[in-house]
């Protein structure tokens, strides 16, 4: 699910060691350092931004609330975070992470190259999203040494969820239920989709969500889209919603249809989802028409269309179209070697 990026995040993102203790991060750091050693890199730079802090938060709990940020991970010794904002803003930035050394992003190229040091190799994670101007500056400063991407190594590691992470996603799933219920109740009460989306977001926040984003169709049975104009307030039947909620960094998302008189497409969508869930297990490739995207600290942890992986959590969506109107059914599942655990499913 893709959402319009907010200019600034405001929810509760401070690191809470009772929720995610240092012991959760230590094996992650060990794993990434092993990958660095294998790649011959002495330093790793991890990029995050308000639209996706996934890799950054995975290692440090740091969410890029204000703007772009980086974590610098040496093979040995303490990590450093470079955060958007002025020096005066670093005290509040430090609350977001267990990393003690948090400094302004400032001249990131200079800071990164100094941190790496002469003759050493820089590994990267998440640099595909780095603004080209900054990427070019770092690459030029490091030349002739090439930047070594660890995305292919670390993304699968991040997709495999720990028991503690699964519990946080279950929490997010409870907030998702509150949100989808509120959306449905609002639509059934005759409200327009923008009001219903706002009701969903407010319900999720009231239930304890860190963030909540609701999108909805702009025409009957249309694709859920951002509701970024007041004119998006439309009374629709059926109304589709795509809702994402966040719990301590971990997302849950679902796509639902609310119709006063569900038609045969609804049955088809639900049957297709049920069949997909029955088939879901590690290595399985879900049938055409079923979308499954890995989810966790990012709304989309990729790769799309790949076989399901054990330990990963997926937002699974089926859809069926009739008369130009689309009906959705969706679920959130944790995939195992033998099947899947359903963490959330659109209520019948």
């Amino acid at each position: 699910m893709q959402i319009l990026e907010s200019t600034l995040l405001t929810g509760p993102y401070d690191w809470d060691e009772h929720v995610l203790p240092r012991s959760e991060y230590e094996p992650r750091i060990e794993r990434v350092r092993a990958a660095m050693a294998q790649a011959g890199a002495t330093m790793l730079a991890v990029f995050g931004h308000p639209g996706n802090s996934g890799a950054l938060a995975y290692l440090t709990n740091f969410t890029a609330k204000v703007g772009p940020a980086m974590a610098l991970v040496p093979r040995e010794g303490p990590l450093r975070i470079l955060a958007s904002g002025t020096p005066k803003m670093m005290d509040t930035a430090k609350l977001l992470t267990w990393v003690e050394d948090v400094r302004p992003l400032g001249n990131a190229t200079k800071t990164v190259t100094e941190f790496v040091g002469d003759g050493n190799t820089l590994a990267t994670w998440g640099f595909g999203a780095l603004p080209q101007g900054l990427y070019g500056g770092i690459a030029k400063a490091m030349a002739p040494r090439a930047l070594v991407s660890l995305d292919q190594v670390m993304d699968p590691v991040r997709r495999r969820k720990s028991p503690r992470e699964l519990e946080l996603i279950r929490g997010a799933a409870r907030f998702l239920t509150a949100a989808t219920d509120a959306f449905a109740a609002s639509v059934r009460a005759g409200k327009g989709v923008r009001s219903a989306g706002l009701a969903a977001e407010r319900a999720a926040i009231a239930a304890g969500a860190q963030d909540a984003r609701a999108m909805a169709s702009l025409s009957p049975g249309g694709v859920p889209l951002p509701l970024d104009e007041v004119s998006d307030e439309r009374v629709l039947d059926p109304a589709n919603a795509g809702i994402a909620v966040q719990n301590y960094g971990y997302w849950a998302s679902g796509t639902v249809t609310v119709a006063h008189q569900p038609g045969p497409a609804r049955v088809r969508a639900r049957d297709a989802l049920a069949a997909a869930l029955a088939a879901a297990r590690a290595g399985a490739q879900l049938p055409d028409g079923i979308a499954a995207n890995a989810i966790g600290l990012s709304l989309e942890e990729g790769p799309s269309g790949a076989p399901l992986e054990a330990g990963a959590v997926y937002a699974v969506t089926s859809r069926a179209t009739e008369g130009g109107e689309t009906t959705y059914a969706s679920a959130l599942v944790a995939v195992t070697d033998k099947g899947c655990d359903v963490l959330w499913q659109e209520p019948a």
Binding site: L4, T10, P12, Y13, G85, G128, P131, R202, L225
Partner: protein, 370 residues
Amino acid sequence: MNRAERIERVLRRMAAERIDTLIALSNAKHHLARINLAAHLMGYRALAESAFVLRADGTQRLIITPAYDAERASLRQPEVPLTASDDLAAALAELLRQRAPGRIATTGLGAMPHNLAVRLLDIVGKDAVPFDDAVNEVTAPKTDEELENARKAVAIAEQAHEHMLAVGRAGMRECDLAVEMNLYAKELGANDNFLMLSAGPHQLGVGASSNRPLARGDVIIAESTPAYDGQFGQICRSASVGPASNVLVDKYALLVRAMTAGIEKIRPGATVSDVAGAIDVVMTEAGYEKYNHPPYLNRRGHGMGTGSIAPGDIDVENHTVLEEDMAFVVHPNQYLPETGYLLCGEPVRVTATGYEALSKKWAEMDSVKG
């Protein structure tokens, strides 16, 4: 000015620079204080990366991703031909294959995500002319529609501030207050909100809201910046938790006086430096010259995106000449040794003879329940 006239300005600049095709690229970040000239020209806030292609003959095309966002794009900009794709680079390459682009200029390339930018660089070629400064220069004034949206955004900001005064109280977390203000602003019609809100008994600067609970004696400082149909409008406010002390009230009145002196300088032909300088004079005369510089402040205001952030930062070093229909916020926001960091700021539009205040009620020292 309307959008067509903005495009005309760009076409004239393209002609002057012998540019045949302008490719304005958007990274889908629609920010208060960062330039996104593609969004500025297309009047559409893309869900993902997109491009606005303008030919010298005035032909326009919008290329958006993902393809499923086509319905929203068509609603927002029905008059602009649309290509909806899941692959921006491929769609752009196909468009340029259909008709030779001639001499290409680009905006926004450096802000595009690296993985996509390398493909776009291959397509536009190494001789493409960076055109960010040129487009930014000729599109500084807001359109009538953007100005009306700015007025609505500011009205929402003022209502959200009143809401904050009504619901804020000691014991409430900063972040919960900020989230409540965001939800309230959205219910009033905002599509986003750059809300920097923090609190403390003696702050050195404003920061993003944390989990810290408000305490009696704190001062809440907030840059409240809702966006209405994409246009941000900012007010800056301060409120004590519990009754404000006399010194707090006095020093805040000084900041408001300084802000007013700056705003009174606004008219076409004046410079941004004139505005910032007038603020500094008041603070200097009050004995705070030392505090007219970093680290005690960042800037005396700034433009309001999305799209263009002209006239830039309100700073004595900024000699940009003000033009009619520029819109920006003037905020003396700074640290004072007696009170800590305080925020006070009002958004304005440059008129033919002076300025229009976009806010109805100017800042004063407020308070919430202690």
